[in-house]
């Protein structure tokens, strides 16, 4: 356990100055900031919008693309950058000749990638809430203060996180095995497109394909979200998200299986 904690801290120390880490911070910050500016400029048009709809418009702008593109791309990039630090510096051999169990070194890296995704999604929640409340302060005519979205938003992003575990583990393994960006990126991209098509066509077995999961998580959102564009129909105020569905289970199983398989592949593969 000590080896794991030390390795995990070292992962942070190594990556804290890389694009991989900062993309997890800057992506939510910039996207939420852009929305903030958009709402700020168009505030007058939204004076009569109910608080709940305001929140869903703010959060929904990001959530809408999250499952389709943003989350899969973020996962591909983070899985790549966490492993690329070692490929680029040729440090695998050093990592695995440290007096630390090989499993700890491998697990720390794996969980660090998970942590970055979790951290990034948590920041989406924090920035959405932060900028929403800030809008309510600087434009009091927008009644953000009248509805508390924190609970449902947290659940939604948690759902996205759970849906990302399967893809992340596969992308992690691909990036570990291939030192270039194109192979994991290419495979990930093709699978993401396939997954989106499967999920959007409601193929009954789509839940078995991890790359469909973010799209399916997004479905959990649209079940609660009003349809009909700019003039939303009333929403069920007791909206709940079903966190653990079939696809979440598959996502978790894939993450565990790939983690174990990856460990044996890494141990078997000679360290270059």
């Amino acid at each position: 356990m000590k080896g794991f904690i030390l390795s995990f801290r070292s992962e942070f120390y190594k990556t804290r100055k890389t694009m991989g880490f900062w993309s997890a911070v800057l992506l939510p910050l910039l996207l939420c900031l852009m929305l903030f500016i958009g709402f700020f400029v168009k505030a007058d048009r939204m004076i009569n919008t109910p608080a709940m709809i305001l929140w869903f418009q703010l959060a929904g702008a990001i959530l809408g693309i999250m499952g389709l593109l943003l989350l899969p791309m973020l996962i591909i990039f983070i899985a790549y950058s966490v492993n690329n630090v070692e490929h680029k510096a040729d440090t695998w051999k050093t990592l695995f000749s440290l007096p630390i169990p090989k499993l700890s070194v491998y697990a720390a890296k794996y969980f660090y990638a998970f942590f970055l995704i979790f951290f990034c999604l948590a920041l989406f929640v924090v920035f959405t809430l932060g900028f929403g409340n800030l809008l309510g302060l600087v434009k009091p005519q927008l009644k953000f203060g009248e509805y508390n979205v924190a609970g449902i938003l947290t659940q939604l992003y948690l759902k996205f996180f759970l849906a990302s575990l399967g893809i992340l583990s596969i992308q992690f393994l691909l990036s570990l095995l291939f030192s270039d960006f194109l192979k994991p990126m290419g495979i990930g991209f093709v699978c993401t497109i396939t997954g989106s098509i499967l999920a959007s066509n409601n193929w009954e077995y789509a839940y078995l394909f991890p790359y469909s999961h973010p799209m399916m998580a997004m479905r959990a959102l649209s079940q609660g979200q009003p349809k009909g564009g700019d003039h939303p129909s009333p929403i069920n105020p007791n909206l709940t998200i079903d966190l653990f569905t079939k696809d979440t289970g598959i996502s978790l199983i894939i993450a565990v299986v790939v983690f174990i398989a990856g460990y044996f592949i890494v141990m078997k593969k000679s360290v270059k």
Binding site: L6, S7, R9, S10, Y13, K14, K17, T18, V85, K88, A89, D90, T91, K93, T94, F96, S97, L98, P99, I100, P101, S270, V271
Partner: protein, 299 residues
């Protein structure tokens, strides 16, 4: 013995890279592990660090079996394999701090290491901007950080200028002399190792061709008599007729194995009396480099 391997054999696919290697590295030695490129040096080093799994034979380090005492053994080894593994986006000091974090070593030691390898002025520069020599020195600082009892260095002077090579040589001699460390250093250049090694192992095509102290290696190295004469080929034939062994002839010189001073005088007189003009005659130690080539080419 600090390192002792027994019949170590390693195969990649159907190619045997290391063949029943039995290394004996005594404590406090600088063990030069020599061989041409592709002889199996790096593979052996990876086996010693448990980066590759032992297929056949056994490895004992500090009298402990490697596989079952991996962590305990590795905590007392510092290593540098091929190019130093350095995070180029971090500064030199950050590279050391990261390793210190992993090995739970106080920060003070990091500064000591920077001073030791003369990188204190470049400590806050990105390692990506380091010259090859600086990277190599940082790699050595990383290897030394945990104050290991055994240092395993794979071609540590690759790409260094003569000054850098001398610096590293002096550092390693100091480590074994003053701090009683053991150094296992691989190289494809005998000349580089010869000046510091106490023991030598020569490997070719995965097989150990020679192992022993540097004195034992030098003892293999027989001196010869170098004769500069007017008609070398004829002179050589003449000597052969008179039962002298001639080891080498070219346009300017001929070489006869040295046995004694008296014998050298005899040859001189014999050639002179038979009309050969001798311009020079002297005893010559064969270059160790030639010996190294001879050992590795006999395979």
């Amino acid at each position: 013995m600090v390192i002792s391997t027994n019949n170590l054999t390693f195969t990649f696919g159907n190619q045997t890279v290391v063949k029943s290697l039995s290394l004996q590295v005594p404590e406090g030695s600088i063990y030069g592990f020599l061989g041409p490129n592709g002889a199996g040096k790096t593979t052996t080093i990876k086996l010693l660090l448990n980066l590759l799994k032992t297929q056949e034979g056994s490895i004992n380090i500090f009298d402990l079996e490697l596989q079952s005492n991996r962590i305990k053994i590795l905590s007392q080894i510092g290593s540098l394999i091929e190019q130093p593994a350095i995070y180029l986006h971090l500064t030199g000091k950050e590279n050391l701090l990261n390793r210190a974090l992993l090995l739970q070593i106080p920060e003070k030691r990091v500064d000591e290491m920077l001073t030791l390898v003369h990188l204190q002025d470049a400590a806050h520069k990105k390692a990506g901007q380091y010259s090859l020599g600086m990277k190599q020195r940082l790699g050595i600082a990383l290897a030394l950080l945990s104050d290991p009892k055994l240092l395993i260095l794979d071609e540590p002077t690759n790409g260094l200028d003569p000054n850098g090579i001398i610096e590293i040589r002096e550092l390693l001699m100091k480590l074994t002399g003053e701090y009683k460390k053991t150094v296992f250093i691989s190289s494809h250049l005998l000349a580089e190792i010869q000046k510091m090694a106490t023991h030598v192992g020569i490997i070719n095509f995965g097989e150990l061709m020679f192992q022993g102290s540097i004195q034992e290696l030098e003892a293999l190295n027989k001196p010869s008599i170098q004769i500069e004469a007017d008609r070398t080929v004829e002179a050589a034939n003449f000597l052969k007729k008179n039962n002298f062994a001639v080891s080498e002839v070219n346009d300017h010189h001929l070489f006869v194995p040295f046995t004694s001073k008296e014998n050298m005088g005899e040859i001189n007189a014999l050639l002179n009396q038979n009309g050969y003009t001798i311009y020079s005659i002297n005893k010559q130690q064969q270059d160790l480099e030639k010996l190294f080539l001879a050992i590795t080419q006999n395979a």
